[in-house]
């Protein structure tokens, strides 16, 4: 019984970690611009697709293909900011949401055109042979996903607390006007946040592709779940997104394991709705005081 539980937990944490990476991307962009980027899932798709293309088709070794795929996705992220978000800076929230949805359709269409509509498999980084830990079968790729997520969290923490750019980003998130007055270059921060989010998304894409395959539509559901993670944790609170992602992933796995796989996705959304009903700003979100 207990090994079964551990197996479910392992599966939940692996999937949850990818949701978390996507969710952090949502939070970072939100902090810099108050924009919810619905093309975040497409960054995941692009990362996986580019890595597959560079490795399988261009014949590059994995250590070269992965960074190049991430770099390529970052370029797409920067272009998105430059040509779609920046010209519409003063538009309303809903308008910006529609723009990013348009961008996600555009990116999916582009990916279909370039790489076809098929699913592709990226080989696992350290093989497919499961490691048996007293009855629990551990997929080596799961270890990669979890390990990389932990490293990303540590790096992000260092980045936001120790570097000038990171601190500037936090300042912008806290009070955009004040940060601007203090000499923070807002536009640069915005560019940077899109680049960073794209990099995180692409990393998630590269890590998850060997487990889930990659195809032009793979980002839709991952993006949605990442959004869930970000909202659940409290928007604009990257560490909250990590926790949110893990909660969504684990609850999905437990539901599939113990209740009904049919209602797995529904349960994740029910948890989010219930949380929001009682905590309208997510688990860790700042409770805004209405100033009138």
């Amino acid at each position: 019984m207990f090994t079964e539980f551990l197996q479910f937990l392992l599966s939940g944490v692996t999937v949850g970690a990818t949701y978390a990476l996507v969710g952090v991307g949502f939070s970072i962009i939100y902090n810099a611009s108050q924009v919810i980027n619905f093309a975040q899932g497409e960054f995941v798709m692009l990362g996986g697709m580019m890595a597959w293309f560079l490795f399988e088709r261009a014949g590059l070794p994995m250590p070269a293909a992965v960074p190049l795929a991430i770099a390529g996705t970052v370029l797409v992220g920067l272009a998105l900011e430059k040509f779609a978000i920046e010209p519409a800076r003063n538009a309303s929230i809903v308008t910006l949401i529609i723009i990013t949805i348009g961008a996600s359709i555009f990116l999916r269409g582009g990916a279909q055109l370039v790489w076809g509509r098929d699913f592709h498999a990226l080989p696992a980084l350290s093989g497919d042979a499961p490691i048996d830990l007293s009855g629990v079968a551990v997929n080596p790729q799961s270890l990669w996903v979890m390990g990389c997520t932990v490293v990303v969290v540590i790096l992000l923490h260092w980045f936001f607390s120790r570097t000038m750019t990171g601190r500037a980003m936090r300042a912008v998130a806290f009070n955009m006007l004040a940060a601007q007055l203090a000499g923070v270059n807002n536009r640069l921060i915005l560019m940077f946040s899109f680049g960073l989010s794209a990099a995180l998304g692409a990393l998630a894409g590269v890590l998850i592709a060997p487990i889930t395959l990659t195809y032009p539509d793979v980002g839709i559901m991952l993006g949605l779940k990442g959004f869930c993670a970000a909202i659940l944790g409290g928007l604009g609170y990257p560490y909250g997104a990590i926790v949110g992602g893990l909660i969504v992933g684990i609850s999905e796995a437990m539901t599939a394991g113990y209740v009904s796989s049919a209602y797995k996705d529904a349960v994740a959304f029910v948890i989010i709705l219930m949380t929001l009903f009682f905590m309208p700003n997510g688990l860790f979100g700042r409770r805004g005081i209405e100033r009138v």
């Binding site: 005081i289 209405e290 100033r291 009138v292």
Partner: protein, 256 residues
């Protein structure tokens, strides 16, 4: 006669006690001013009285009836209205429509008749529009009746809020810094307007930093400091109160 009474009211945000056991009362028919340094709790008091915030302790009595914890729209029904320190104009409407929203409680606002556009609803709405236009004249905005509010100058928006608040037909009107951001001549016009309003029998309470306006218009002044009542009385009494002078020396003593 007491119109509004506040009894040992408390409200804290985090660890900060914005209002701390405050008690005060407002007499019917007189113009009151509430003054005090920044952070004294003046706007919080307004938000508590109008029901936007709920107090942790204490009671609020309007005309003798306990209204503590009532939702803001219920307070409007009881004859309480206000303006806002940071403009809360409905920028998605014209000036006239803004004032018509103020008459919401006096409209025929049932859903089905509205959706079917029954003659009664249309007729009542036309009356409301005429009344609203009159109110815009009253506050000196005759030129802006049909204007989109997002195209109006700041000074006009301040008056628009007053017109909108009057549209609810209040017994008690709370004005939160009506002269903030206005030049001296505009402030003078606001002074006249407040007198005009008081002349119609509406009890006015204003929060204001402009001491010339406060001293000129108010019959009774309440001084708040760190969420408590520091002093109250006529302008003359306040001017010579040593506690008030001490509290203000740091910040706004120069006005006194």
């Amino acid at each position: 006669m007491t119109l509004l009474a506040v009894e040992s009211l408390s409200k804290a945000f985090g660890g900060n006690r914005a209002i701390d056991g405050l008690s005060l009362s407002v007499r019917q028919g007189a113009v009151h001013s509430i003054i005090g340094p920044n952070g004294a709790g003046k706007t919080t008091l307004f938000n508590l009285v109008t029901g936007i915030y709920t107090p942790e302790h204490g009671r609020i009595l309007l005309d003798g009836a306990d209204t503590t914890g009532l939702a803001p729209y219920r307070m409007a029904g009881l004859g309480l209205s206000r303006t806002f320190q940071n403009l809360q104009v409905f920028f998605n409407m014209t000036a006239l429509e803004n004032v018509m929203v103020g008459m919401h409680l006096h409209c025929d606002r049932r859903f089905l008749p509205s959706m079917l556009r029954l003659p009664r609803v249309v007729r009542r709405d036309a009356e409301i529009a005429a009344e609203a236009a009159e109110l815009l004249h009253f506050v000196g905005l005759a030129d802006y009746v049909g204007a989109d509010s997002d195209a109006m100058p700041y000074g006009a928006l301040k008056r628009l809020e007053i017109a909108r608040a009057l549209a609810t037909k209040p017994r008690l009107l709370l004005l939160d810094e009506p002269a903030a951001g206005l030049n001296p001549s505009e402030t003078g016009e606001i002074d006249d307007l407040i007198r005009k309003i008081a002349g119609t029998g509406v009890t006015v309470v204003l929060v204001e930093h402009d001491m010339r306006l406060v001293m000129g218009v108010s019959e009774h002044i309440l001084v708040l400091d760190r969420g408590t009542l520091l002093a109250e009385g006529t302008g003359e009494e306040i001017r010579h109160n040593p506690d008030v002078v001490a509290a203000y020396l740091g910040e706004e003593g120069r006005y006194l």
